[in-house]
């Protein structure tokens, strides 16, 4: 049977989002941050609701009150931590050690909260993972990376993607990723080559600059490190953009639901161009173009996304409802964990 191709579409508009964004910021400031939980839900809803697949939008259903409670709890923990660390500096290491086993639990909670509050066609997404597995991926593997001088890093990225995707479900249908470890190593191998080429180029530039603007008495021009950093920044962005694009494509192109295969066609050049012009626009506009930059990025990412299906999209069945608390989500937010398919 010939598979049907269905593109994802993004209908969000920069002008419309700008108004929502600025009202969100103002109300968050006026309420001393309390409104930020509502602002977050409204922002995320705007992006989910504007993402369409086969004439149906995605939904974000989180309760802002839960997010607010989670934020207050995190704030309380941070205050306690800072207070203890300031009064008894010796205890700081103990606190960090105590946090290590909690960390995987927080990640599971955050993913659960996010997935459980995401829906499509009134069917919820789900996340269910084993604690020990999370402990291995998020604590064990980083330790392994340290002992292998970074050689295990691509394996860690693969394990992380696999942990997220393989434990996710849409209704009763489980997601599955088939990308191999070798494919991840290939991406990082190429990224390493780009990085080496970059370093050589920058070293060449530095040498030329050294000759050009080094002071006559042989000492270093104080502006030199700043200039080098500025030169290096676009190159770093290129490497970052390459890794992001390739890893995203690799993961999504090997992700399946029953009868469905996902497809992502991001291009490194396009992503880097968006990063660069967005950064420039935000700085030049003193932040006013932040909503425009976000909409632009979302539009490109979603325009590159599609799926091929051999069945129809009416086949999915909902799973039994379960509760997910807001705390994990906020801790996840706080620690800037990369959550996403």
């Amino acid at each position: 049977m010939q598979p049907n191709h269905h593109p994802f579409e993004f209908h969000g508009k920069a002008g419309e989002f700008f108004k929502i964004w600025i009202v969100n910021i103002l109300l968050s400031i006026i309420t001393l941050g309390i409104y930020s939980a509502w602002a977050k839900v409204r922002t995320r809803r705007y992006f989910y609701n504007n993402t369409y697949l086969m004439n149906a939008p995605f939904d974000y259903l989180a309760d802002p009150v839960k997010i607010l409670k989670g934020r207050l709890l995190v704030l309380a923990f941070v205050i306690i931590y800072v207070a203890i660390a300031a009064l008894f500096p010796e205890a700081e290491a103990v606190l960090i050690l105590l946090f290590i086993p909690v960390f995987p639990w927080v990640i599971i909670k955050a993913l659960k909260f996010n997935w459980y509050n995401s829906a499509y066609r009134n069917i919820l997404f789900h996340f269910n993972a084993d604690y020990l597995k999370a402990l291995w991926v998020f604590i064990g593997l980083p330790i392994l990376i340290a002992f292998t001088f970074g050689l295990a890093y691509p394996y860690f990225v693969k394990a992380r993607k696999q942990f997220v995707i393989d434990n996710s479900a849409y209704g009763t249908s489980r997601f599955e990723i088939t990308a191999t470890t070798n494919q991840f190593y290939a991406v990082y191998g190429k990224a390493l080559l780009i990085l080496l080429a970059t370093l050589l180029t920058v070293a060449g530039f530095s040498y030329a600059l050294w000759q050009g603007i080094g002071l006559t008495d042989g000492s270093i021009n104080p502006a030199l490190p700043a200039i080098l950093l500025l030169l290096f920044y676009p190159f770093l962005m290129l490497v970052y953009g390459y890794v992001y694009t390739q890893i995203t494509n690799l993961s999504i192109n090997h992700t399946f639901l029953p009868h469905i295969q996902f497809e992502s066609r991001l291009e490194t050049g396009q992503i880097c161009w968006l990063y660069f012009t967005n950064a420039l626009a935000i700085i030049v506009s003193l932040g006013l173009l932040i909503p425009w930059a976000k909409i632009r990025m979302a539009r490109y990412r979603i325009a590159c996304l599609s799926l091929n299906s051999t069945g129809d999209l009416d086949q999915f069945i909902s799973a039994e409802a379960e509760q997910a608390e807001g705390i994990g989500e906020e801790v996840g937010d706080f620690l800037d964990i990369d959550i996403g398919l």
Binding site: I20, V23, G287, F316, I317
Partner: protein, 339 residues
């Protein structure tokens, strides 16, 4: 009676069913598909708050959901039955140009006021309410780190050291922290001619600075400036201000950190260096007053500032990224205060 075209999902499967939704004045709601029809009441529907022109969700009590693009019709229903009052207020804020413009101006004004007054005031209040030993502890740790990274033993003779220390005690008599001051001498090839105020009361002079100074009064002028930093608790305050600024910026711009970290880092650096320049000017003001009291001409102060600038080869054009104001601006401000 209001009728809208909609899509129905039963919540058990992903099947999408086109329906017609009819609202009656009585509060009765009729849901009609090709195959069947059933009814409900407005009270039992939970209508999502409007968000731009995104498709509107209407949740039914049995877990099923209806979606419609006809936001205007649903708004009319909400108004008629007095539903969703607080949420619809948000949408009226967001769609009205005047309100949005007002929100923009108010936000800009709040951010400006927060950076200009809020953060410095909060930092000052906290700094003044913290017990003295906190500042001492911070100073002690900072000194240990500085000794590790930057300093080596001074070559200045013990006699000169003791004499300058005596002059410092004389200079700080009747200040807020009399008897807490201590003068330390260090050599540093990395820093060159420089003086540092450590929170708590220690002042460090580098050997190069002593070489650079043409007379004793110039050294006293530098000390007066550093005493200003310590009396105003600038070390502790800048520590607090910088953490507050970082928190403020992360809160404001945090969700775009993934777009680019430069757009968060740059404004943070700009604000922090601005605070630092304000502290320098405040320390200058303090120094002028103290030198006046001791009958030391401020020409010694302006002269040593010029000498310092020459020895560091600083570029006065780069004011915005600098931790210190340009020297001619500082000298100009010093004389302005005299008039």
């Amino acid at each position: 009676m209001i009728s809208v075209k909609a899509l129905y999902y039963d919540g058990k499967s992903s099947v999408q069913t086109p329906v017609e939704l009819v609202f009656y004045e009585s509060g009765k709601v009729l849901i009609r598909s090709d195959a069947s029809q059933w009814d409900s009441t407005v009270d039992r529907l939970s209508i999502a708050a409007r968000l731009g022109n995104t498709r509107r969700n209407i949740f039914l009590s049995d877990g099923s959901k209806i979606e419609t693009d006809d936001n205007e019709a649903i708004d009319r229903v909400c108004r008629y039955f007095n539903k969703n009052r607080p949420q619809s207020l948000l949408h009226s804020l967001e769609k009205n140009r005047t309100y949005v413009l007002a929100a923009l101006l108010l936000t800009a004004a709040t951010i400006w006021a927060g950076i200009e007054f809020g953060v410095p005031l909060a930092a000052k209040t906290v700094a003044n309410s913290l017990p003295a030993h906190v500042e001492h502890k911070i100073g002690k740790e900072a000194l240990i780190k500085l000794d590790d990274w930057l300093f080596s033993e001074s070559t200045i003779g013990k006699g000169t050291q003791a004499e300058l220390n005596r002059q410092l005690q004389q200079l700080t008599a009747h200040t807020l922290r009399e008897h807490l001051y201590r003068l330390l001498f260090r050599n540093s090839t990395k820093m060159g001619a420089n003086a540092l105020a450590i929170p708590g009361g220690d002042i460090i002079l580098t050997d190069d600075l002593l070489d650079l100074a043409e007379n004793n009064e110039q050294i006293l002028a530098v000390l007066a400036h550093e005493i200003g930093h310590i009396e105003h608790k600038h070390g502790l305050r800048s520590l607090l201000q910088n953490s507050l600024t970082a928190l403020f910026m992360a809160g404001l711009l945090g969700d775009i950190a993934s777009v680019t970290s430069l757009s968060v880092a740059l404004p943070t650096v700009l604000v922090e260096t601005r605070y630092s320049r304000q502290f320098e000017l405040e320390a200058d003001r303090y120094a002028v007053e103290l030198l006046d009291k001791q009958n030391i001409p401020i020409e010694h102060f302006t002269r040593i500032l010029t000498l310092l600038e020459q020895s560091h080869g600083l570029n006065p054009e780069f004011d915005y990224l600098s931790s210190h104001p340009a020297t001619d601006k500082r000298i100009g401000t010093i004389y302005d205060r005299r008039k």
